[in-house]
Symmetry: C2
Subunit: 517 residues, 2 copies
């Protein structure tokens, strides 16, 4: 059966299905629609009249949608141009977490380096910002960007199409996407099929992200990253803490705790009684300290990250545990019912989890002495190292839940550094058909999917009822979702802008599963 | 039963066993000896009279044995001081492959950075050079090394004990190890038990390494790395090749092919009819190009290495295949019977192997047109990415043999970069008992050993009779050997200086296995 791929066909399908009015017809309708149509219709497109648009370069389409604005060569420039009320396009070599404050305000992002899983691409998709990355012809100097021979100065207009990877000369009118009633209807039917069988949650770091995600139909937060809470004004504090060899100044941690507590309060309040899973800090050292640090690492992706940094600098996670627990207490006092889980990144052994759980319990005990308005958070772990997946049975004994981090898992199972491999090797591998798909886009059916399925089985035998989710980029990709549903996960969590596709794809996967029974 | 741990007890044991004269007694004797005794007795020690030696610093003991010589702050200085007939100790921040020519001549090596699996440590163990790495108090300037407050100028004497990690002031008399007849006897009995059941091969890159390995009782070469063939005088050639975007100058490859062919001829001639497994080039790009290269990678360990580089720059492995095939032909014409295998590094999918095998067959066909003195080499693969281990059944269809690279496998399964993790994290993890042993020293019994066992089983079902070996550092470590024998491998391959321990440990593992049947 050929899939429904145009809005016109979708409109007809919805009308016919409503006319029949049976559950079976609705199931057939849900099964019939190509998820790419839903993806495409939830992002802005250039107005059709700009057919004479002048394409000046092409790169990797990294986050769909179209954007037009004034070219800014740094995140700082984005901040100042944005203050003047102008739309901005950030054009740079590549981005780092320090750029995130500016990136958030940009209408579009273009980078010379990096691939589909580079920092710029992941962040842009998360925030629904159109982006094109890895533009080979892009050269940047202090005042201009050169796309081949076309020079565009800082402050001049430029446009991009994140769905095709095109960079377009000058200013272009961008048509905003609008809610299409037939899509809304289709996704309601999909939710009806999904019922309680599998959850669709969002990766959302802030209150704003969460509100965007809820508008798209997310049922909670499967991954709240806390890295951004250490950036901006907080960056000098965490740098001071990390550079201090022993006994960091007490006020540094107190100040970090205060701002994190207030961020968590906002997020938990906005979430109501929906689940929110907070991941404790996981950033490679060099992202905070920069290349100047004496702690510079050869392979930071495999270095002092996540729980490893936490075991070296034990005040860090203790501080985050206090901030989260106090925020839970604050919301409870307001009469809220926060439903919070704490997640530990980069675990390789159950003992890491055991130690961190002890710290979290310490924080709770301390708070309970003065304040018994506290719903105890659950404590679980990312499963993102191959070792964690291979020892799922042991680790489950210490974990209230698992969340597979499929980006890192893919990285380590293949031995592929996303940033490096997508520059040249991936293209060659796809062209020579060594790999059928880029495993960072489509979950590897040969090894990663079976590994997740086996780890899920082992965990459930070891700890019946353990909740198992996925919070990598794959959680919003249709064919990956189909493999994850087959593996038996309880929920997928993805970028807010991928939620509609995830709602449809999970329902389709369940239909296929039921048919095969 | 407490193990025999002193030379005196060993001498008594051998004497008693000879008096009894039965096979059973010999088995019991082999089982009774602590492998550490054999390790200890095969390396040089400081003469006992230097009890007043002045220890000025300590680091990680990285390669056993004692050494004394004139301090050299670079590999180049080692070369010039060595020419004057003086013993040298190389003292530097850390080493890279470009230093290997100098390292080979040093009597000892000391580095400020790095752990037990750093470049300096691995190379030193491979060549049996005493080494101490990761000396925290070591500071180096242009003309001196400072161990805390003790300054030693370049050209002044210094000593080290690679078994304890001590750095010792001044010149000290070093007593060379000598062959101990009781050890020889014990190892002969161990070989008798081992028989044909499991092989003990050496990691040996050159004719000299091979001769050292044969003296220790190796039965061939399980891993001949070819990286050194691109260093020294050849370095500018490979740099020119890698920096050329298209069509590299023909003479560059011809020159590399000629020198490699002559290196292989020497190695194959020395090996006689013993097996020699040659691994095609596997070095991260930055090791050849240096940090200046535009191709600089964020995580080179997970970047453009091994077969990945080969698929981007296809002339490289074709050149190596021609050099190996022509060397086989040269030796065959001399009347030799070379027994050569070609091994592909960093494979993740059988298709990579399929493509490279095609190139090797092309090279052979071309040579056969003018010359039919050619024993066709076997073609196999390293299993060092988790994905290769997890898809062993598929990959075995294209591989004449497997060789597990346990260093990289450990690195990727744990998500541990050796160089980075061993600086701080490992010490903390061992101290907090998160891990019982450093998995780079002792094979992880929880995940790596079962993964090797499962991949071996899957490969043998898919391709009955496929040969399976191990060529990581673990192949010479007693408790790892016991796990590998249990996993059913056909051979272990380790540094020449670990061969005696491997001969004893494999025999002990077989005895235990038989007892448990």
């Amino acid at each position: 059966m050929s899939k429904v791929k145009t809005l016109e066909d979708l409109q007809k399908l919805i009308k016919d299905t409503q006319a029949i009015g049976t559950i079976e017809a609705r199931w057939e309708a849900v099964a019939a629609v190509d998820p790419r149509l839903v993806q495409q219709l939830s992002h802005s497109n250039f107005e059709s009249i700009s057919e004479d648009r002048q394409v000046i370069a092409s790169g990797t389409p990294a986050s769909p949608g179209a954007a037009s604005g004034l070219l800014c060569l740094s995140a700082d420039t984005v901040l100042s141009v944005d203050e003047e009320g102008e739309q901005t396009i950030l054009v740079c070599s590549e981005t780092t977490p320090a750029d995130e404050i500016g990136m958030r305000l940009a209408a579009g992002i273009v980078t010379a380096r990096g691939g589909i899983s580079s920092h710029a691409a992941v962040i842009a998709r998360g925030w629904g910002i159109p982006a094109v990355v890895g533009v080979p012809s892009l050269q940047i100097n202090e005042k201009s960007a050169f796309f081949g021979e076309v020079e565009i100065k800082e402050g001049e207009p430029i446009s991009l199409d994140g769905a095709t990877g095109q960079i377009i000369f000058g200013s272009n009118h961008v048509e905003d996407s609008e809610q299409i009633p037939e899509i809304e209807q289709l996704l309601e039917w999909a939710d009806e099929i999904r019922g309680e069988r599998i959850g669709v949650l969002a990766n959302a770091d802030t209150e704003e992200d969460l509100l965007a995600a809820l508008a798209f139909g997310a049922e909670g937060v499967g991954l709240c990253r806390t890295e951004h809470m250490f950036l901006g004004e907080q960056l000098p504090l965490i740098q001071e803490f990390l550079n201090a060899q022993e006994d960091p100044p007490e006020n540094v941690l107190q100040e970090l705790e205060l701002t994190q507590r207030s961020d968590f309060v906002k997020l938990f309040r906005a979430a109501g009684d929906l689940p929110v899973t907070v991941r404790l800090l996981d950033a490679p050292l060099h992202e905070f300290l920069g290349a100047s640090a004496s702690q510079e690492e050869h392979n930071p992706m495999l270095g002092t990250r996540g729980v490893r940094l936490a075991l070296l600098r034990q005040d860090l996670y203790r501080m985050q545990a206090r901030a989260i627990s106090k925020a839970i207490s604050d919301i409870t006092k307001e009469g809220g019912k926060p439903n919070v889980s704490i997640m530990i990144p980069l675990v390789v052994d159950r003992k890491e989890l055991e130690i961190i759980r002890g710290w979290i319990e310490d924080a709770i005990t301390e708070i309970m002495k003065v304040d018994n308005f506290l719903e105890t958070p659950r404590v679980g772990t990312m499963i993102e190292t191959p070792r964690a997946a291979l020892s799922a049975s042991e680790i489950a004994k210490e974990a209230d839940f698992f969340s597979f981090g499929t980006n890192d898992l893919t990285q380590m199972v293949f031995g592929f550094s996303r940033d490096d491999i997508e520059k040249e090797v991936m293209e060659q591998y796809l062209q020579m058909k060594v790999l059928e798909d880029n495993p960072f886009e489509v979950l590897d059916p040969g090894t990663i999917a079976p590994l997740i399925a086996a780890a899920t089985r082992a965990a459930r035998i070891s700890r019946p009822g353990i909740e198992v989710g996925v919070c990598g980029e794959h959680g919003g990709e249709p064919s990956s979702i189909s493999l994850l549903v087959e593996a038996g996960v309880d929920y997928v969590s993805c970028s807010p802008f991928r939620i509609p596709v995830a709602r449809l794809s999970t329902a389709q996967a369940l239909i296929t599963q039921d048919q095969n029974k």
